[in-house]
């Protein structure tokens, strides 16, 4: 496995195993993660590709402390954080904005939970909302925003927390193709400005290649890391990168791995 850029990784998952008890009495336990090992460096953008149901959300729930691994270690900055909550920023699969809070109050939530005073957080929130193209929407309610705008607010909320690592769970899965591409480029540029490390789960090979420094491919359940790929282009990237021969080659390579991943017999 290749070394992480810049020495000591920010996040290190070591041989994580996790199974869930079977649905019925006497059913065998469902093995979901079977020894997953991966790292994310400081300020790095890492993507996880994997078939549906392979355990990607489970992996995030482990990192976020909602679940305990059966075995293996989860380290953040060298410290074991298994079972600890509030150590990572999070952008869930659904925007999960609170319908009774306006956009400004919503994006302040992560800072609020982290105990950052409103006086300190609000100017930053307003600034990032403008950068996210949500200037003027501060006092709108979530149901007044489009899906893409809600996802942008959800990302700004994650960004305003103090955490160095942001975990994004298929943030653009529900958007149409054009909006999706626009949002991907937007996310790439905001990530660069933010200086944070990002761990992104996605189904889309193009999304992974367009945004990430490195891509991990997970197998079907029980998941292991099948492949790790470095993506060579410097940031910021654009649609033009997607037409380069090497991009096409990488896309084909990942596609082949993913297809094989799906063939692993499901148990």
């Amino acid at each position: 496995m290749s070394a992480v850029t810049g020495g000591e990784p920010l996040l290190a998952l070591e041989h994580i195993r996790k199974s869930f008890p079977g649905a019925g009495k006497g059913d065998a336990a469902v093995k979901v993660l079977d020894g997953v090992t991966l790292q994310v460096g400081s300020g790095e953008f890492v993507a996880i590709l994997g078939p549906s149901g392979s355990g990607k959300t489970t992996l995030f729930r482990l990192i976020g402390g909602l679940l305990q691994p059966d075995s293996g270690a989860i380290r953040l900055g060298g410290e074991d954080i298994a079972g600890q909550r509030g150590r990572i920023g999070y952008m869930p699969q659904q925007p999960s904005l609170l319908p009774w809070r306006n956009v400004l109050d919503n994006v302040l939530m992560a800072a609020e939970i982290a105990g950052i005073s409103r006086k300190e957080a609000e100017p930053k929130a307003r600034e990032w909302l403008v950068r996210a193209g949500l200037g003027g929407c501060e006092s709108a309610y979530p149901h007044e925003l489009s899906g893409g705008m809600q996802q942008r607010a959800s990302f700004v909320r994650a960004l305003l927390g103090p955490q160095q690592l942001l975990c994004l769970d298929e943030p653009f899965g529900a958007l149409d193709a054009m909006t999706r591409l626009e949002m991907q480029l937007w996310l790439g540029s905001l990530w660069q400005e933010s200086g944070r490390a990002v761990l992104l789960v996605t189904h889309s090979i193009d999304e992974a290649l367009l945004l990430a420094d490195r891509v991990y491919v997970l197998s079907a359940k029980p998941a292991t890391v099948l492949e790790e790929v470095k993506v060579p282009w410097p940031h910021p990237r654009s649609e033009a990168n997607m037409a380069e021969p090497q991009f096409v080659r990488l896309r084909q390579q990942l596609y082949d791995v993913l297809r094989k991943a799906k063939e692993v017999p499901q148990r």
Partner: protein, 257 residues
């Protein structure tokens, strides 16, 4: 004004329906020549209301007073029970059946017992009867809403480190507020009905007492006056809760339009 026209738009069908009903009633009574002690006409009822206004007003005040106390007690108990059941699973599974049993205790059986315990003229039996019917919709609405908090949002909040208290204050409670207000609206309507039923059972004032007293004297028109006052009181109680709801959870308005 936009709100003015929309109020009129929503308001005219029920207003017209009630006016039509009263008109049909008036014409029906006049054409059939039915005796006044069997069915008075709306005009008779109106005249009686004006004539006996001071007495009606005295009883109305008594009913309203006891309703508000009973409503407040019922709501306080209802919210308290819901919170206890939400926080402690064993309390929920233990109490829920008892709550349902409590709603099947008929006031005709309970009222006399309470009077024996607390005294015929004491307000306590009435307050207990009213609270018994007011707490239930509040408890059920709030408990169910608290249990049905969006899983994704709760997971998000816990993931970013929200404590149990923060989760409750920032997510579960605001999420349950619209439902709580539905329960409060039902309770507000019940509170007037509950007060009237309780006054039927004993005491010396209130609209329930007045209805019974007038009925015994074959003053049917006065019974009808009291019925109308009860309806108006129930509407007022409902309206106050609805107004509070609008002020407190305006975010819920206009969603899903």
């Amino acid at each position: 004004m936009k709100t003015g026209t929309s109020w009129w738009k929503r308001g005219w069908p029920p207003t017209a329906a009630v006016l039509l009903l009263l008109l049909a009633w008036q014409i029906g009574v006049q054409l059939s020549g039915i005796e006044k002690f069997k069915l008075p006409s709306p005009a008779d009822i109106g005249r009686e209301a004006v004539a006996s206004f001071p007495r009606i007003w005295m009883h109305t005040e008594a009913t309203l007073h006891i309703s508000l106390i009973g409503f407040a007690c019922g709501v306080a108990v209802g919210i308290g029970l819901a919170l206890a059941m939400h926080m402690i699973a064993a309390v929920k599974s233990g109490l829920y059946p008892l709550l349902i049993i409590s709603q099947n205790i008929h006031p005709a059986a309970l009222g006399p017992l309470l009077m024996i315990w607390f005294g015929f003229l004491s307000p306590t039996p009435k307050i207990i009867v009213i609270a018994l019917y007011c707490f239930f919709p509040v408890t059920v609405a709030l408990t169910d809403a608290l249990a049905r908090t969006d899983r994704g949002m709760a997971d998000y909040m816990r993931m970013i480190g929200a404590s149990k208290a923060q989760l409750f204050r920032k997510l579960e409670l605001p999420h349950a507020l619209p439902s709580l207000f539905s329960g409060l609206k039902i309770a507000a309507t019940y509170s007037i009905m509950g007060a009237v039923v309780a006054e039927f059972l004993g005491g010396d004032k209130g609209l329930g007492y007045y209805i019974q007293f007038s009925r015994n004297q074959f003053q049917t028109t006065r019974v009808f006056v009291a019925l109308f006052v009860i309806i108006i009181l129930a509407f007022i109680m409902f309206g106050i809760v609805a107004l509070l709801e609008k002020m407190l959870i305006g975010w819920n308005q206009g969603r899903g339009e």
